[in-house]
Symmetry: D4
Subunit: 246 residues, 8 copies
């Protein structure tokens, strides 16, 4: 596939007519699959290629989109992909890697991190791990170093303090918590790097599938905390990667 620059060069040299070039440029921007218009210019616009949200898409649709994206750039990341669906995909992409806890599939090798800077992924409890792994795999796929600090919730706050140095050393911190989500506030009060908080849907009763943790994080008495949607480990890692790459 020709890049935009190559297309323009061929126009300038007369190898392509302007109407041919227009169509090629269009195809460079969007892959029209009928059921989907895959966004091929996202890397150029946003610095990160399009990522496939697997939930709610059929295996067949995912195959088409992965193929369209992988023609242009690698690695291709698919999130929210169940093991069942992956088992239907793996024949099409024999080199793909599946991360079960994270429910993610990657095709192609992630770029090597350019520095020793790292993103800290911190969780409150054991059950927050799947979201944490979604964040960690996303960040690693985007070329970041990641350090995992799991199960350090405030019910036993000494567990957090024993890991404080490694958290403080991160360029950006992702805090992942369900239940009441208090860990975000405590970490926010102890570090000088930006904190991205991810509420998880872990809890029962008045937890309301993560709403309580979300509200806690939005109303934190500590500053420097921004928040993403419930269970959105991917989104937190996406923003963290943008920050870590500055």
């Amino acid at each position: 596939m020709l890049t935009t620059t190559e297309i323009l060069h061929q126009v300038a040299t007369g190898q392509l007519s302007t109407s041919e070039a227009t169509q090629l440029l269009d195809e460079n921007q969007t892959a029209a699959l009928g059921f989907a218009n895959v966004d091929l210019s996202r890397q150029q616009r946003n610095g990160v290629p399009e990522v496939i949200y697997g939930s709610g898409k059929t295996s067949k649709q995912i195959v088409s989109i992965v193929k369209a994206l992988s023609k242009q750039t690698l690695p291709v990341l698919t999130t929210r992909l169940s093991l069942t669906k992956f088992s239907e995909l793996k024949d099409y992409f024999p080199s793909a890697v599946y991360y079960e806890s994270a429910r993610c599939m990657t095709l192609g090798t992630p770029p090597l991190p350019k520095t020793n800077d790292y993103i800290a992924v911190v969780t409150a409890g054991t059950s927050d791990q799947p979201i944490a792994e979604e964040a960690a795999i996303t960040a690693e796929t985007f070329g970041n170093n990641v350090k995992r600090i799991y199960d350090v919730g405030v019910a036993g706050i000494h567990r957090l303090f024993s890991k404080l140095d490694i958290i403080r050393g991160a360029k950006v911190v992702i805090v992942i918590a369900g239940m009441e989500g208090a860990l975000a506030s405590v970490v926010g009060g102890l570090v000088s790097s930006p904190v991205i908080a991810v509420p998880t849907s872990i809890g029962y009763g008045t937890n309301f599938q993560g709403m309580t943790a979300l509200l806690t994080m939005l109303n934190s008495c500590a500053s420097g905390i921004t928040v993403v949607n419930v269970d959105n480990g991917f989104g937190a890692a996406y923003s963290a990667s943008l920050i870590n790459h500055i």
Copy 2:
């Protein structure tokens, strides 16, 4: 006013007829004021006399109820009483004391605490003080020692740790916090006495007038925490007093 025992004694000795006694016993249970049936047997049933919730009552109504209660027992506590309303009351009760921050009035001297046990009243921020004072004055009026530990929220968690010994020494701890209310979880993870959490309506936006702090407290990952209604400093102190008097 004759006590139940005295009435029965006078019946036994023929000083009172049974029908006279029945009416007196009825009057001992309830003071019928027309607009209100003041509960006079609460001390006997609940171990604590009825307390007047001043909000939504006229000054005139409060005067009548205070008078009815004070005939039977002292001190009489009135909560949620604005300064304006108190100024209309004080001529009727020259010996009454008004606590402005707590919005409480007491008539009569509280009983002396029988032990050195105390209730710790802990707040997250400066703005939680009125609710904390409502709790503290209520507890003191019921004959408890109270220690106030204010403005030790988790945004600067060293402030909490420097007061931890005094909090751990309490027989029961009241934690009062608005915003995201994370202080309750942190305290709950550090003490071995029962914690009663009071969410306050301090905050804005998605705080929803205290709902966020309430939800945080109900969903705490730490155990040993029970919760009362938003801004209900009185209720927390009432329960804490029952526990402290065990």
Copy 3:
């Protein structure tokens, strides 16, 4: 496993180097299982050892955590454990006891209650029983006497009055109710001990999975009532045990 005191003694006598001692003290506080940091100092901090919340953990994870905790203290309590999951666990812990209605497993013998004081566990209806049993088993595992008073809701209030003496005799009362949860208010108005109210998710339509009972309990016109999360029988028993042990 050496206690903190023993470790310090061995340091003083030169049997352990300070760096060896530091590591041992750390291990005394937390068992790092990779997926979890089991809190081993909770008994010391909170007076009650860590309890395992079984829901959302794999059988394998529970086995590891029970083993780590049981090395240090007994009994070990696991709550929210389905019968299916227990059947996968019982070979690892042949002496464990499973309480089906309560969905709890205990390993090791509970301490004998030190007094005749008891906790009353009161329910409104037949369907509240599982939560009541979770509370009762938790309290018994923590070394408390428990008296069960079931199905005495206000639709037939004579059932409550016929049990009033036994409820009034308790040092602390747990009231468990779904539907509209009115039982908590009625009990609160009749006893002089602290009441801990547990809303259950029993109901339909505008019950909103227990929210109605929760709101009722938080807004009770009776005093002396504190509240825990919907269906949180464990939490109520935890706090009740702290109070009963005063």
Copy 4:
């Protein structure tokens, strides 16, 4: 104003043309005031004449509507009328009576009750009185006997039991309560007449302006209870009057 029967008679006797009759019949059904189409056939359709909801209407509008209605039927009831607004109206209707606590105005004498049957209006607390008076005045204006039983909430349940005979004697019972609204369930379990429950907006925090009492009443474990909107004393009395007049 001619009745429908009179109009038809005059048509039959040739005193009116059919087109004149059509217009008169139309005017008998609706008084077109421009800003309002006053419903004049409600008495005939619903057995009760239209009642004016004063809130959100100007004094001038109320004057016009009262005049239109009073031409056809008396008494005319206006609810939710502030004292200020009434003072602007009373010159127009010198014989009107204003009930301050109920915020109601009546013009014309209510019909005498035809039997000794009565509606019991029962409240939980002092602050529920305005809604109770709205219900009582409405019922009396519609020709019912009313017995008021105020301030008998469950925090001091002996107050309720001492009034139980009078409540049980009613043909229909209106229970009015704010806070957690538990009184409705308790009364519902004790009487054999239909109960209409009115939640009031009395309370704070998680009371949500009456939502808690409303939910309690909708989810009552006792049967025979139906519910109206928050603070809708008028609506409860309207239905109670229909039942009482059966």
Copy 5:
């Protein structure tokens, strides 16, 4: 089983000691089944015997409760009983009748209605039928005549008008509607008997499982409408029966 009167008679005649009589009277009020305290005095207190809410009870529990109740009174009504559960019950109660659409079981013959008065059960749509049948069967079991007027919602309002006479002839009207529930208001504006409105959980999206219909009914611009919980056909029929029997 002896009635209260018989017991008292035998005491008077010396056939029973007072302690024997006390226990018998107690048993007359409540059947203590361990998991349940069946309310046996409800007929006496409320005029209607206890009804079994089948949902959330095991077949075994239902068998015990039906037996306990049927010793004292017949018919016994069980609501919210799935076909599956009924098939487990029918061997115990061969004469029981099961109403599949209504999900109700009755044991014993309902009393014959004493008058020609009837309850109209009106629905808006086809899908509201199960709730309507629950209401109709309940009312018939309690000895009422019932007329069913189904699928007359306001989208085709001529269907309602063609049945208006039969609806107007009822002593009390039950209106059952899902979606937006507008039928209640329209009927309320057209009849002079009390209307009990039942919102159903029929709908999708912002219907919120019946909340929309509930809110519509609570806020009706027509008067004379009271409301029960979502899908509570039983509760509507219970109140309607009380009214119809006046």
Copy 6:
């Protein structure tokens, strides 16, 4: 089946008695199926025949209603019909066509569009397609031209701009979006035809099954947007068809 005009004609000519005619006219308006009163006069009142909402109806009920409607008018549209249910229906209606993605069945040929005017159906993402197809099939069944513009959400807004001409050319635009639903506002700001926005239940966490998209659409800063219920592709197409046919 005779039309209203034919019936009246036969009355005039004496072929039908008035009572026969009344019944026939009644049957022309409503097909009384017992469980349903099918509205046969909707075409005449609303310009569009009744459409069957398949969800919550049994196959047997649908067969009866389709038969009743098809006697009077064709095509007959059934929406929200699962593939399973269709497979039970197809023997009854061999000529029926089933649209799997749209979950719709049509019986009979749609009328040909009378003009070249078209409705644009625009979606934000791949997962919105089923709702879009429900809208498109509905519109086509009602005799409209439809142009589908799918997967042009604002995350890659160039996809929208490349289709802007076709959208601007529509007489009415249906915008279908889940997640945050921002596409409606952007389209609304760019076109001069009326926009009907359909929120879909695509999303997770704080999406609340489409509530977020609904709120976005109701609060759009762009004008000319009206909104229907979540996932209501049918309703949007119904209104769009009315507009397109003007």
Copy 7:
């Protein structure tokens, strides 16, 4: 101010340089006022010029924006403008007209309607009038005929039927209702033109400031109804005008 065509013409004829033209074209699209970027190309894009939402803007800001807009097009409409604010504006715009009930100001004469087609504005109650007037004035300012049908709510449904012909004759119907908003469904079932429903914030208690009416309208069992935000009379008229002008 030069139109786009004039500018391009002057470029072609050399009267303007391209850079001068670019700036002029830019100014034709947006008036940069510092605090606001007034959208001057809306007429061209949307067929309707920008309208000023007065609420939350200072009088000074409104003066600037009206001036900027009126340079390009007339009339200029300002909505949600209080009488107080208008009194501060009228010296700047002596020819402006203020509609007090509608809270709208117009500057310049509306275009004459091109046909006899009209928009029907229908309200349920007296208190809905301000929103209805906002809709009516907006529609008239955009060059539409409007017919007002006020106070025909379903509590007295004969009022609606007596106006049905005029409503059925409209090209598009706006239905405005508070309380339970049932009028929209009833009208929707009776007309064949598109209906735009406007919920108003009229009501109390569980009306939730118009949420009940909104939900009713979104869940209508009648088809052909689309909905706008609570109290958004302007938005309904905007869409209605687009439809009426087709």
Copy 8:
């Protein structure tokens, strides 16, 4: 005031005893004002000194806290400070600067930005300006360059595109929007820097004081967006500053 290093130095040289040093170190961490424990170590922990949230604090309290903070570091920022309250403060701090639109006061000169990097503050509408100014003043006080791009909401999306280069050039973008908040998604799809979205409480009806914009931002289909509480311009700027200073 001695720094930590100076204190330790004086201990080492014997100028301070260890107990004197402990107290001084304590005072360096917290200024105990009775009503508040001002956090003096936040600069050291979080890289940013404590900022005073003016709302809900008395002028007297603010004076004390500003004094305590200003002893240690400058500038001191106070947010949510009304003009009235500032007028009571300015005599105490004659050099303080007040920003009326931002409702902020600064005392002391902000540090000069060290690079040309800047934060873009982008708003959707005129009414979002106060929150935007809070963000901008906060960022400038923390030593950042800020570029303001106001009133470029999606209703007139050309306004955004004409400013796209300046937005794309920012190191971090703050997007501030009320109503439906769609601007955040559109910007998120067009830039490659992290976006922090601030919902504002601008809107009416179903806007729910900013909840709609918040939900939109949390559910954005574009990636790279994190969110703060409603109207929290300060919080967005705090995080943006941390990112911009990397």
